[in-house]
Structure formats: structure tokens, C-alpha cells
Symmetry: C2
């Protein structure tokens, strides 16, 4: 609410060209907070204030892609080019990729030659790779520089670098030799040479590495920034800790959605259209309807035993669900453990053994519970049928739920696609058939 | 495999007291990689090598809590106290909290007075708060220091501080006045005073803030470290970006598990015992069995209509599952959006409207699919019953799935507890009753 009120006040000030009043309200705020307020103001007004902010490029970078695009349309070309020119290279490239062709064609010629080339280079990397995530704004040093020269170099590079807390030592062919921290620099004697001060063979990723691996590497080694190299070992960019944290969060959201049977949604749920929400969800739901052809066929096959023992129907929803629920639990544990790296492919066999034992215990508990209810509603034969069926259904659910993420991973799919609806579907059909098969062995045809 | 082989070689070297050989293998590695290898070696051997590593405290900090505890038992008291004394304050406190009383009593007197007090202070904060997460190793400056003095101060504080890239300006009562970055320091003229250089009223959290909010604040403002203040505004600690990233990942895992119907597991899945896995999963599964009493009662009530129209049973698993699946999708989207902050409580009403429209579209699609199959197996009346039931079941599933996380949040529970098994349970009973009720209006009793 407060943001919206402030946005109203500031919007009015801009309309009356009282830019100083508006700037006074905004300048004490952090860039992302300013961005949140500007997002509430009409683009035709907002660009005029944004253009006057000392940290306009940073603020612009924090806006959502769709707001950036609207503002880019409102901005006069020369002013837009100036703001875009000041943006960090990774944010600039992301913006460029979101513009339509006409906007791209208008913007590019207005940018300096070096920035144009930088955009073209960065935009060429495939989405989801380290290349598409990295920034080309990093500080470099030479191996034979001493500490005084290195500090002087960093002072010059600071305005354009995303971080100067890590500087990268490269040779004449830009090959990554080592990393020097600013902490080490200010603690070292002035004449120390970089090749003595640097950490050699630093942790790095390749441009075509998956962004998930980049985020994991940053997290594992607690890095402020991770250097990215090309196929020749030359330094081409860095990924900073904050971008890695965003990737980790996006990947978690993605896995979360997939596990719930929603193909991933790009952007904020609040802003997603009904059409997008429908399309992302309908696939798994309808697939289930057709998966039901199997359980339906199972029921048709055992129609006589059901007709003679209607008590079986009481427990059909429960037995069918229990397999799916136990399986979803197993899949949830595996999918997340594979995502965080707690579990790797070669652990499958050992985990399968453990899962089987857990499933036995869970199945036994469930069997006791369900057969107690079965005995009350039916007799001891019904109780026995239910106990045996529940045992089997839970075992199958657990083994399927546990193995499916591994199988999907092995086949090159995302293990998170082992979603609750998929496992429910598989367990439905097998649950129905097992239950009625066991029933047909023990119960009379009437 | 490589780690295990290296661990074998190094374990042998330690047994033969060839420490130089062992150290030669380890020193080029990063601390966390050394920790992974030491974890594979018997504690009675591992401590002897760890004690000789120049970065022993850092390596020790990277070990899992259970390995730390085993090593702490193997270490002679004086050596352990030395390593523990060198550890970062947050890691030291975590270790201390994991030790048993006898170990605590042995360790405390061997530590320096200041470290003892620091442990007592940090260990007093409640788990899950900023206080329990923060480190007391930060660098402070005074407002009237100039740049030269500030840099000299940071050089002195550097060995003990978690970061010197952000230093905190405090007054004589330790009240947090501002933050100065090392970047600003090395760019500023030597005589600039801190109160002119600092960013005033910096972003900070309170000691009793939830650790999830701490992680969100670090992510939102892209911070390297977040200062933590007490109720008087005095600086008492910092949370670094890497610890915030770990919290974000742990919280995501926790939500993921809860959504899958697993009460959260502490530690790595690979190492979890069968007993722990059983206990974390059995609750939701057994609850479902008793939830089934309701759907069972529904079926009992409509027994005659089922007996006369056995074709209804074919579609029972499908109808029951569809509500649960659609509901799980809704809940998944809401739980994650609430966790990332994309959606807040006051959005509920607007989202409910959107969800209802999405549910209408999804329900209609499913109704068409299921009534086609129903027509093939039965007749046009069965097709109509199925279409109407499917519509209702999907609508109910979506509204329940969407609202439950909000309701739980409002009641003070974790919204992630709106798990797939819970929603399945609710949708089972309502699905069965709606389906059979509609059938009883349209189908004859035979």
C-alpha cells in the first residue's frame, strides 16, 4: 500500500514537472525499492524521472522484464541508449533479448561499438547456460603486476566492474591463471607480484555448463563471483553470488512446480494469465484420464467379484490413493536430493534397498490400520485381502516413486518430472489390478 | 570414487606417520574438497592430519555435524580447543550446540575467555532466527575515522573478520550508523571521513527475525553480508551471502518435503536411517486411512446405486484422483509463490477469482475427455453424470488446493503443510460423495 501511495505522489510531481521533489523522495531508497515504486507509475511519466536518477542504470536493471520493455518504448532513443549503455552487461543482454526486432534495430546503432559487440556476443549463448548468465564486467590483472600497480588498476576498473573483490589474473591470450582477492591485496606488501599472491587454477565453470551447476559451484565454494572460461581456457565472464542465488531459487521453483504436475511457469504467478495457467496444467490432468483406461480395464475384468462383494468398493479410493501418496513421498525425497546433489546416480541401488525396507514398515503399518477398518465393515477375509493389498500397493508406490526420478535422469529428462500426478497415474492402475486380483483369490463370486 | 581412493592413500600415509606426503596431496585443494576427503578417513587418523593443516579451522567448519562430533571425540582436548578457537564464530557455535554435555564441559574451560562468552551469547539465540545464524566476526569503523585510518583498521581486523568487503560504522554504544564498502574505501580520497563515505541507515535485520526473512533480504538487496541488530539498534552480528544461500536452499528443501507429505528431514537423505524415514512419512499416510472413513461412508450411503450401475466403479479412481491432482497443482503454485514472496496474503481474493476461471477451463476439458470414455463404456446418461461430476470435483480440488496454503498461513502454520496427501484426502471424500450424489439423481436403481 505504501508503495502505491508514494507512486501516486511521485507520479503527480512528474506530471507537474517537479522533478526535484520526486527525486528527493526516491534518492534515500535502495535501487530495488525505487524500481518497485517506478513500476507502479505510467511508463510515459516514469521514464522521465528514471532518466534523472544518478543510479538510473542500476534501478532500471532491477525492474521486471515486462516493465523494462514498456519503459524502453516510452524512452526517446538517445536517452534509452545512454541508460542501456550504463547497465551491467548481463542485465543489458537480458533486456536486449526481450525487445522486439524494431526496438533492437533502433537501439543497437545508438550504442557504442564495444557495447554492441558485447551484446551480440553474450546474446549468442544458449539460455540456461553459464554463458547466458554471465557478465563481461570483471576486473583483470597481469601475473607480473605488483600490489601497488594492481590496486591502481582496480581503481580504474572499479566503475565498470561488477565486483573488484575478486580480480582475475590472465595471460596475454586471456587464459585464466588465477584469482586475487582484494582482501589479499590490501594485506600484502606493495611489491608482491600477482603470480605469487594469486590462488592458481581457481574454481571455474565453462560457458556451456548448465546454470544449475554454476549455482551449485558458487554455493559449494562460497564464492563472491565464479569465473567462466571458453573451450580454450580463456576468461570470458563471471557469475556473481547474487545471480547464482537467483538461479538456485528459480531452479527450486521449477522443480517444485514440476513435482506438483505443473510444467514450469516463467515469471510471477500473480501476473500469469489464465491461458498460461491452463496450458501449464492441463497436460498432466488429461494424461491421467487416459491413464485411467488401464485401471478401468482392470475393474471391468473383475466386475463379477465386485458385484458379489460390494464392500470392496468402499476401500477402492483408499488403496488407489495410498500407493500414489507413498510414491509421491519417495519421489519428493529423491527429486530434491538429486537437485541438491545429496544423492547421485550411483547411489540408486543402495537407496533402493533402504527404500524397500522403509516401504515394508510403512506398508505394514497401513495394513494394520486398513484391516482394522475392513474387519469392522466386512469380515476377517476382507481384512486379510485389504492387508495384503495395502502392503503390495505401498511397496509398488515406493519403488516406482523412488526409481522414476533416477530413470528419468538417466534418459536425459529432468528428474522433477516424476510428478505426483504421474506417479498417481501409475499407481492407480497397478493398485486396482493388485487389489482385485487378491480379492478374486480369497472372496467368493457370491 | 576418486575421493575414496585418495582417502585410502592418505589414511595409509597417516598411519605410517608420513604427514608431509599426506599434506602435499591435500594443500592444493579447496577447504571443502579437503573436508570431503577427511570425512572418508577414520577419525582417529583424520584428526592428526587435520591438526597439521594450515587452514584446519576452515576445513573443520566444512565437515558435516556428525563427522565434526566424531572428530571432536578423537582430538586431544588442547588441540581441539585450538582448532575450535580458530573457527568462525557461527560455525563454532553450531559445533558447540551439537556436542554432548561432557564434551561441552571439557571444551569450554580450554577456550579463551572471550570465545567462551561469545559461544554462550550466540548459543542462546533460538534456532531458526537471525541470531542463531549470524557470526560475530565482523569489522567495525568509527564515524570520524578517515580513509587511511579505516584501511589500517581493516588490515588489523582482517584475519578475524568473515568479510572486510563491508565494514560497519558504529557509535560508542555500538549503534549501527552505516555501512562502508571496501570498494568505496579504496576509491575515496585518504582524508574522507567515514560519516561522509558511509551509506546511512543500511538494510539490516533484527536478532529475532526469522532466518527465512534474513535469506530473502540478502537475496533482494544482493548483499555480501547483512548486519543484524538487537532491540536497541546495536550491531551484534552479520549474516554472510553464503550462509543466506544455504538457508534459502534448506528452506526450499523443507517446503518441497512438506508438499510431498514428508515432515522435514534434517541432514542428508543418503545418511538418514530407516527409522527416521519411517517416522517422517507414516503420519500423513495413516491419517489418510482414517480420512477414508468419510469416503467409505459416502460409498455405503449410495451402495444401492452402485450395485445397480456397476459402470460407476470404473470411473471412481479417476474422479477421486482428478480432484486431488488439480488441487495439488494449485497448492504447489501457491505454496512456492508464498515462499518466494511473489504472492502475499492480501492477494488471496484476486487469485481465488483467477483460480476459479482456470479451474472452469480445466474442469471442462477433463469433462469432455471423461464423458467421451464414459459414452463408450456406458451411455449418454453416464457420460452426462461423469461430465458434471468431473467439473465439480476439479473445481473443488482447485479451490481447496489454492485456499488451504492461505488458511494454514493465517492460522500460523507453514503453508507448505498443504501437502499432496492432505489435499488428496480432502478431495477423496468430497469427490466420492459428489459423484455418487449426481449419479443417484440421474441413474435408476435398477
Amino acid at each position: 500500500m505504501k508503495n502505491q501511495e508514494l507512486a501516486l505522489v511521485i507520479g503527480n510531481a512528474i506530471e507537474q514537472e517537479q522533478f526535484d521533489t520526486a527525486l528527493e523522495q526516491l534518492t534515500p531508497l535502495r535501487p530495488i525499492d525505487i524500481a518497485d515504486i517506478l513500476a507502479e507509475i505510467a511508463p510515459s511519466l516514469a521514464w522521465r524521472l528514471l532518466d534523472r536518477l544518478p543510479n538510473r542504470a542500476t534501478v532500471f536493471s532491477y525492474l521486471d522484464a515486462d516493465v523494462q520493455e514498456l519503459l524502453a518504448r516510452a524512452f526517446p532513443r538517445a536517452n534509452l541508449a545512454r541508460v542501456v549503455g550504463e547497465m551491467p552487461s548481463d542485465e543489458r543482454t537480458d533486456l536486449y533479448k526481450h525487445l522486439d526486432q524494431a526496438q533492437k534495430d533502433a537501439l543497437l546503432p545508438a550504442l557504442a561499438q564495444a557495447k554492441r559487440e558485447d551484446i551480440r556476443k553474450l546474446a549468442a549463448y544458449q539460455e540456461g547456460t553459464a554463458g547466458a548468465l554471465m557478465s563481461s564486467d570483471y576486473a583483470t590483472l597481469e601475473p607480473n603486476m605488483n600490489v601497488s600497480t594492481a590496486l591502481a588498476t582496480l581503481r580504474v576498473e572499479a566503475p565498470d566492474a561488477e565486483t573488484i573483490y575478486h580480480a582475475y589474473v590472465i595471460d596475454s591470450e586471456r587464459k585464466l591463471l588465477g584469482v586475487v582477492s582484494l582482501r589479499a591485496l590490501i594485506l600484502a606488501a606493495p611489491h608482491t607480484l600477482m603470480h605469487n599472491l594469486m590462488i592458481s587454477a581457481p574454481v571455474h565453470c565453462k560457458v556451456d555448463d548448465n546454470q544449475e551447476d554454476v549455482a551449485k559451484t558458487v554455493a559449494r565454494y562460497d564464492l563472491i563471483a565464479l569465473p567462466i572460461t571458453d573451450e580454450h581456457g580463456a576468461l570470458v565472464g563471471i557469475v556473481t553470488h547474487d545471480d547464482a542465488m537467483d538461479v538456485a531459487s528459480d531452479e527450486a521453483t521449477d522443480d517444485f512446480h514440476k513435482s506438483g504436475g505443473v510444467t514450469s511457469i516463467v515469471g510471477k504467478l500473480k501476473d500469469a494469465s489464465i491461458g498460461v495457467l491452463y496450458r501449464k496444467r492441463v497436460f498432466w490432468l488429461v494424461l491421467l484420464v487416459f491413464g485411467n483406461l488401464f485401471s478401468g480395464a482392470g475393474i471391468a475384468h473383475f466386475e463379477d467379484i465386485i458385484a458379489a462383494n460390494l464392500v470392496l468398493v468402499f476401500f477402492l479410493p483408499l488403496l488407489v490413493d495410498s500407493g500414489g501418496n507413498a510414491g509421491s513421498q519417495s519421489a519428493t525425497l529423491m527429486v530434491r536430493a538429486l537437485a541438491t546433489g545429496d544423492v547421485v546416480m550411483r547411489d540408486w541401488f543402495r537407496l533402493l534397498g533402504k527404500e524397500t525396507l522403509v516401504a515394508l514398515c510403512l506398508g505394514a503399518t497401513m495394513a494394520v490400520a486398513v484391516s482394522a477398518i475392513g474387519y469392522m465393515r466386512g469380515d476377517e477375509v476382507v481384512a486379510l485381502v485389504l492387508a495384503m493389498s495395502m502392503m503390495s500397493v505401498v511397496m509398488i508406490g515406493c519403488v516406482v516413486g523412488m526409481s522414476l526420478p533416477f530413470v528419468l535422469n538417466k534418459l536425459g529428462f529432468d528428474p522433477a518430472s516424476a510428478s505426483a500426478p504421474l506417479i498417481t497415474s501409475v499407481c492407480d492402475a497397478s493398485g486396482v489390478i493388485i487389489y482385485l486380483f487378491i480379492a478374486s483369490r480369497f472372496l467368493a463370486l457370491g
